[in-house]
């Protein structure tokens, strides 16, 4: 069986794995961002919360991923093969990476910009949504890019639990003693990481036309 033959025979399953991998990395990224935004805000807004929140979230990142995958079904009451476990675990890691990023991004908003917003009559929520968050976008986007790559790589560990995605190609190759599926899995993972990174970069650029003005000024 030649490599090309194997690849064309298995194209449909690889496409399925690829799509599953997209969802398993993207959903936790968005969930994690949604959770990290208020936590990062709290860490920035209430000085005394900064250390516990940032240190606490960093600690989450040190949890061994495999242990988390195995523990979560018991905590959540889900079945071992349920993809929800992976989504939850990766959301935890995304939050761990992003709380600090969001807090630091908000802290980087010039003080006079924030004070001007107050003095002009922005209410706290308006100030946050219309002034601070948009100004913090470049920092937050940089953090999201790191988290997205980290997620793509961590999702593949789910193969050890039997949740189908690109990581399944690694276990398959290992079982068959055959390199082609492993190589295909790596290439597809890299492709996905590159696509997600480009997507975030494009979104950040669209949200920050003023950043380009700064460099041409």
């Amino acid at each position: 069986m030649t490599a090309l033959r194997w690849l064309s025979d298995n194209a449909p399953i690889m496409a399925e794995y690829f799509l599953a991998h997209v969802w398993l990395s993207l959903v936790p990224l968005l969930l994690g961002l949604a959770i990290a935004l208020p936590l990062g805000w709290a860490a920035h807004h209430f000085g005394f919360l900064y250390r516990p929140l940032v240190a606490g979230s960093a600690l989450l990142y040190t949890l061994p991923s495999l242990a988390l995958f195995v523990l979560l079904p018991q905590v959540l009451g889900t079945r071992m093969l349920d993809p929800v476990n992976i989504v939850c675990a990766l959301t935890v890691y995304t939050v761990a990476l992003l709380v600090r990023v969001v807090a630091d991004g908000l802290a980087a908003v010039p003080e006079e910009t924030a004070r001007a917003a107050d003095a002009m009559g922005y209410r706290p929520v308006q100030r946050w949504l219309l002034v601070e968050l948009p100004v913090a976008v470049p920092v937050i986007a940089a953090g999201l890019r790191v988290a997205s790559v980290s997620n793509v790589s961590l999702v593949s560990l789910g193969a050890l639990l039997g949740v189908p995605q690109l990581g399944s190609l690694f276990t398959l190759g290992f079982q068959l003693g055959y390199l082609v599926p492993i190589a295909a899995g790596i290439v597809l993972c890299l492709l996905l990481a590159w696509l997600l990174d480009g997507l975030i970069l494009a979104a950040a650029r669209a949200l920050t036309p003023w950043k380009r003005a700064e460099t041409t000024a």
Binding site: A116, A119, M120, P209, A213
Partner: protein
């Protein structure tokens, strides 16, 4: 009208930033808070829009206690300009200016039209509307800051050292434009600066604060310069206060002297013929003063028929525009290398020259006239060449 009534700000560590401030900033006038660092001038300013809450006492806006108002709504009705402008870096110039109108619920279209109108008012081309703050110079950003504060046409403006971060040339121009703008719009302005010269230039009334947040003197600029309340004020107002007070003296009754001139390009021979005390004034074809030529030392070509060129000119003399401002006249006379200060009309065309003696004579005459007038009028009336209307508050 902004009224501070025993307004005090003390911090838990015992520092008193503002100590029982009683002050009324009259409607339609510019009131300047001035003083050294730590005198509580910025704290006082921020108590008006409640960026800082007084620990005791009240701040009233047109008779209403600000403590009882919704902070966001209160602030939308007060223009605020700060050092470095504090523009939103992520918004275009037009969107920055339109910020408060948008908060007030104006449509996008109306807010933008208003922004373009204000851009013109502060002297920026409409092409700047879609640029970002980072693409503007400091002076331009400051103009946008003023436009943004004016956007919703608030009756009250707070300005916190708005011109301190730009270079002196730009600052002088912004101050000039500020005066012209304020003549047009007549806002109730509270203006903070540490620069007494700026205070005297811009203020209708000036409050001098001392460290510890205590009001040392509250008076119109002329009074502050001529009658400082105590040593602290006298010291703060500075050594050249007598000179600066000339800005507020009555217009001079001064005849300018005729001056022989030569045009640029005339021969040195002609220049020598026109000289008085060794100096001849050189003018442009439009008869604007350009500089003086020292005919006794006019360079290597002294004997020949060389034309008078720009390289022969001794610059350094200022010119007085109009023969009325005593300070400008004195400065022109003192700075001129020939000892004769050039005076022009409004268009910059030479009308003649004055000597320091002429100006000092006019100052003496003006002083005598003021004394005679003070004897006729009740005490307390002061001359202020910038305000035509009496300084009484209208609200």
């Amino acid at each position: 009208m902004i009224r501070f009534d025993r307004a005090t700000k003390a911090y838990p560590d015992g520092t008193v930033a503002v100590d029982g401030l009683d002050l009324t900033a009259p409607t339609g006038k510019t009131t300047v808070l001035v003083g050294p660092s730590g005198c509580g001038k910025t704290t006082s300013l921020r108590m008006v829009n409640r960026l800082i809450e007084p620990t005791s006492g009240t701040v009233l806006l047109d008779g209403r206690d600000t403590a009882g108002l919704d902070t966001a709504e209160l602030r939308r009705g007060i223009g605020y300009v700060i050092q470095n402008a504090g523009l939103f870096p992520h918004r275009t110039v037009a969107d920055n200016i339109a910020s408060v109108p948008r908060l007030l619920g104006w449509t996008r279209r109306t807010a933008r039209d208003r922004a373009l109108e204000l851009l013109e008012l502060v002297g920026l081309p409409a092409a700047y509307a879609d640029r970002y703050p980072a693409q503007l110079s400091g002076g331009q950003q400051q103009r946008v800051g003023v436009a943004r504060a004016l956007a919703a046409d608030p009756p009250v403006m707070l300005m916190d050292e708005p011109f301190s971060a730009v270079d002196p040339v730009v600052r002088a121009r912004l101050q000039e434009e500020f005066l012209a703008l304020q003549r047009e719009i007549g806002k109730t302005i509270l203006f903070v600066t540490h620069d007494i010269a700026e205070a005297v230039t811009l203020g209708d009334r000036i409050a001098v604060l001392r460290v510890g947040g205590e009001l040392a003197q509250f008076a119109p600029p002329h009074e502050l310069l001529t009658r400082p309340a105590d040593d602290f004020v006298a010291d703060f107002v500075g050594r050249d206060r007598g000179y600066r007070a000339l800005d507020f003296a009555a217009p001079a009754a001064l005849e300018v002297r005729e001056e022989n001139t030569v045009r640029l390009g005339a021969s040195l021979e002609e220049a020598r013929g026109a000289a008085r005390d060794g100096w001849t004034l050189v003018v442009s074809d439009a008869h604007r003063p350009l500089g003086w030529i020292d005919v006794t030392a006019a360079g290597p070509g002294t004997a020949g028929p060389d034309p008078v060129g720009r390289e022969h000119l001794v610059l350094g003399g200022t010119t007085a525009r109009g023969a009325e401002g005593l300070r400008e006249l004195l400065d022109a006379a003192l700075s001129s290398p020939s000892g004769r200060g050039a005076v022009t009309d409004e268009a910059g065309v030479l009308t003649g020259t004055v000597t320091p003696e002429d100006v000092v004579g006019a100052i003496t005459a003006a002083r005598a006239e003021a004394a005679a007038q003070a004897a006729r009028e009740p005490a307390g009336a002061t001359t202020d060449r910038r305000s035509q209307a009496p300084a009484e508050e209208t609200a």
